[in-house]
Symmetry: C2
Subunit: 553 residues, 2 copies
């Protein structure tokens, strides 16, 4: 039996939302679950995406047997290009998830170099000492799985993102029997999705939006713009069915929406009758009441099709008085302002805008389990140890309390990114830390890691701009050759003449410095920086970035 | 009777939330209602506050008779220092509002130069052709008024911010009788607060949080940190009463909280028994169960007392395991992340955190009228014309529809900042536009207007930093004296050697330029900028700010 301990090491997504990534290690074998990204907070200036710091995996590259993905959302697969560029290991995922992964790797020209292995719910596979059984779960996306991982010290179940949906539109319900079986045999640890731990009750199934959407279709007299997340395959399916039923042709706008519906069609998740889809250029060939436009941009992304349409800047999507725009989605925190702006523009065009403000009925449902579903899963599995995954610290903590209160788990343990949790059959002990953190990437290229110092500089620049005093020093004589120059951008001096006075400050600093100081460029730069900073701060209460430059001539 | 038209000209707050400011003009007299500020969206980098563009008032400075304030919130008075510095006119407000205004003007050293005139509910005063009667209304702040303005073409009522609270903690209920009287006589136009037009029903009164807060006091075994908006005088009053009742001494932390409670105490809005308040330094002299800390920082502001306490960085406020932190407030959109961060830190310190997540009962109430209150007011006043004020375009539009649907108004009209609405006794017609917009101010000083170009520069700098090629040109010979230098900050090159190669680009550009071009610094700078931009973009997909500098030596 087991002569060592199993280590559970979250590298992303515990203590924050997004960039989910977790390592399981037993002796000299590591299995990685998910490889997500996170969209940056606004204070990470100029950063496009954030991925987990995988130093720990890179240091142990010989031990990593593969990455297993639970489903195809960006916070579970979006970090793959970055991680694979550091660590070329096989990737295991279901058919639909692989389709998204392929698109992503193709974009980064990494598709040929990556081994992609398709997995199937119910079909076990082995990675070193780990035998993994994917179990079908339901979520807002299709073809999602939980993972039951048999290890030398016991079975670990990772739910991935899930809710309990007994009749999803594709008829592939969550496999509760399998969870029950595992529970009966007894499992060591359950890692469960914490996202909706704040919500009491059950999350409605994916079908449950259909009645209200049907009503909206019935009442809409002119063009209907239907917007949802492009990965909401079920929602797209329902929208297409309703369009067909209500005699509307469908034009699809927005790159992500087009790609996503093509994949879903190829893999049989949506079934499109001949002649339903029209080219966007044909919208005007049909009467407004006979058209639905499936359009991306629910979060008010400035370059999205919907955003552009809202300011009448889209070639094909003209929104006219009396048209209806339906946002079948939620507001992701942080996007309130941009979504609000788009809605305001749509209202100014006299469109009727239907969004999830509580007054329009059920037009969107969450993909994550609410409290009762979390309790149900815990009761089915009866794990010895419970570890909440996915969420801010307060979610994890609340989720651990919920698990403890079910009375069926021996212990509920909150760990965060970088913590190492060691389990044998009987105990679970936090033991030390590995490197974990966020890597900021500019413009999506994996080569473009942004250091903290760069972000600090950008923040500094973004607040008060910069002031650069430039000095020319004669290489031979060591004398200052001309009056210093001050160059500035993004800085408001408030009063005229300030820059002139600032220049005098630099001149005075030079005068008050010894020849020795002037010969040591490090010293003289720092003296100038400090004097100038003090002067500017006193006179303007501002702190531009000050960076003296010395040119030798 | 009237031989001219009345003009209603919103200058701020219509089509956006915040910086409320509206002008009424009749021939050569202008009356201004409110002078608010707005806190900037994150994309306005480095900007501290935003105020309305008052060019229209400045152009007509001889006609402006005064500014009348409805109440003391920042979005109604915060722009005063800026506006008064452009336009020194008398300011009319109630006692409590004036106390806030005085503090603000004192800070800007403008108190001595401003004429402040106290007004009283029910006591009319005259400004040119306008006779103004303040009418007491209820809100989340104390001493708030609506304004009934008798003009030559009829009575205009502006509600200010209001809700209908029949038993506020200070016993000063909304004066419904007065509104009924005006309604009976007949009014021309109603300008009504749109903020909560999305909410059905009635907004609960200020007292209604007391039972739930009382329970929280009862169940709290250790220190209680009570946080609310510092202007929530009623909430502070309730907190102090409960502290007294539950045997807790009170320490007050945070500058705004201290100032606000002092003003409220001076003006008799809160009554503090001898010995209730202790100095923050005395917190540890009392058992944890005998202390309440009234602390500012409900929005997770990074420098607030609560933020600092959450990371154990406050001299007096140490949060210990088992302490309770109560956020008796709402989340202002945009602040989710910063508030979430503070809550996470508090959870990590094992404090129990109670915030308005729907699971803690009524711990906060809005200060704005919900739909039924809006309908009630419209029915009482029966205005000919209805004009929604305060809110995004979609709020105004929805509010206009609500008013129309009551059946008692002749016309509901949506106008936005800068629109001129002309009324005679019978008609209301949009006629033209005046200048309106946002003025961005750095660091709160009225001298520090930030131009659009500066914000654009900062945004540019915040995304990719800067690259400054510096050239030295001999003044006499016109020759380039040394190799160009490239200085950069906030820019990630992605690959080593890029800056060296970029320098080669500059050298090549110089080589390929004629002597004439080199003599025209504007031309040569632009050539360098373009070549360098193209090179950097091609090799890094980035767009740092590029600003060639030429030094003559």
């Amino acid at each position: 039996m087991a002569d060592a301990k199993l280590q559970i090491i979250p590298l992303g997504g515990l203590g924050e939302f997004g960039m989910n990534c977790l390592a399981l290690r037993y002796k000299d074998d590591i299995l990685v679950i998910d490889a997500g990204l996170m969209f940056p907070e606004t204070e990470l200036l100029g950063v496009d995406i954030v991925v987990p710091d995988i130093s720990y995996l890179v240091e142990n590259r010989e031990l990593v047997r593969g990455i297993v993905l639970t489903h195809g959302h960006e916070d579970h697969i979006g970090g793959l290009p970055w991680i694979l560029s550091e660590l070329n290991v096989p990737v295991y995922a279901t058919e639909f998830t692989l389709a998204y992964v392929e698109g992503k790797l193709d974009e980064h020209k990494m598709l040929d170099d990556t081994e992609l292995i398709e997995i199937l719910p119910g079909v076990k596979f082995t990675l070193g000492p780990f035998t993994v059984e994917p179990i079908r779960v339901t979520h807002s996306l299709v073809d999602c799985v939980a993972l039951a991982i048999d290890t030398p010290v016991g079975v670990v179940v990772h739910t991935g993102d899930f809710k309990i949906d007994f009749s999803p539109p594709d008829g592939k319900a969550i496999d509760l029997h399998k969870f029950a079986e595992y529970g009966k045999r007894g499992i060591l640890a359950l890692l469960q999705d914490s996202t909706n731990v704040d919500r009491p009750g059950y999350t409605p199934g994916e079908w449950s939006v259909r009645p209200r959407l049907d009503e909206i279709f019935s009442r809409t007299k002119r063009k209907l713009f239907f917007s949802c997340f492009s990965s909401s395959i079920y929602r797209i399916r329902i929208a297409l069915e309703l369009a067909q039923q209500h005699g509307r042709k469908v034009a699809i706008l927005g790159r992500s929406m087009v790609e996503s519906s093509e994949i879903a069609q190829d893999l049989g998740y949506i079934d499109v009758p001949q002649g339903l889809i029209i080219h966007p250029g044909q919208i005007n060939d049909h009467a407004p009441e006979n058209v639905m436009v499936l359009i991306s941009g629910t979060q008010g992304e400035p370059m999205s099709a919907l955003s552009r349409a809202s300011v009448d800047n889209h070639k094909h999507a003209r929104i006219q008085p009396g048209d209806t725009v339906l946002l079948s989605s939620r507001v992701i925190p942080g996007n309130e302002k941009s979504i609000g702006r788009v809605i305001d523009h749509l209202c100014r065009r006299d469109a009727q805008v239907i969004y999830d403000d509580g007054s329009h009925g059920l037009i969107h449902v969450s993909g994550h389990a609410s409290q009762e579903e979390q309790r149900l899963m815990i009761n089915l599995l009866r794990p010895k140890f419970f570890i909440p995954v996915h969420g801010d610290y307060r979610n994890l903590k609340k989720h651990a309390e919920l698990a403890k209160n079910t009375g069926v788990v021996k212990e509920a343990i909150v760990i965060e990114d970088g913590d190492v949790l060691e389990l044998d059959g009987e105990s679970a002990v936090r033991s030390g830390k590995v490197t974990a953190g966020r890597i900021c990437i500019d413009s999506g290229s994996t080569a473009d890691v942004v250091q903290d110092i760069v972000i600090r500089d950008r923040r500094h620049l973004s607040e008060d701009g910069f002031v650069l005093p430039i000095l020319t020093i004669n290489k031979l004589t060591g004398l200052v050759e001309r009056q210093p120059e001050l160059v500035t951008r993004g800085f408001v001096s408030g009063e005229t003449g300030l820059m002139e006075a600032a220049r005098e400050v630099v001149i005075k600093t030079l005068e008050n410095s010894t020849a020795e100081e002037k010969a040591d460029y490090g010293v003289i730069k720092e003296k100038i920086r400090i004097d100038l900073k003090r002067y500017i701060q006193k006179n303007t209460s501002r702190r531009p970035l000050i960076m003296p430059v010395i040119l030798e001539i």
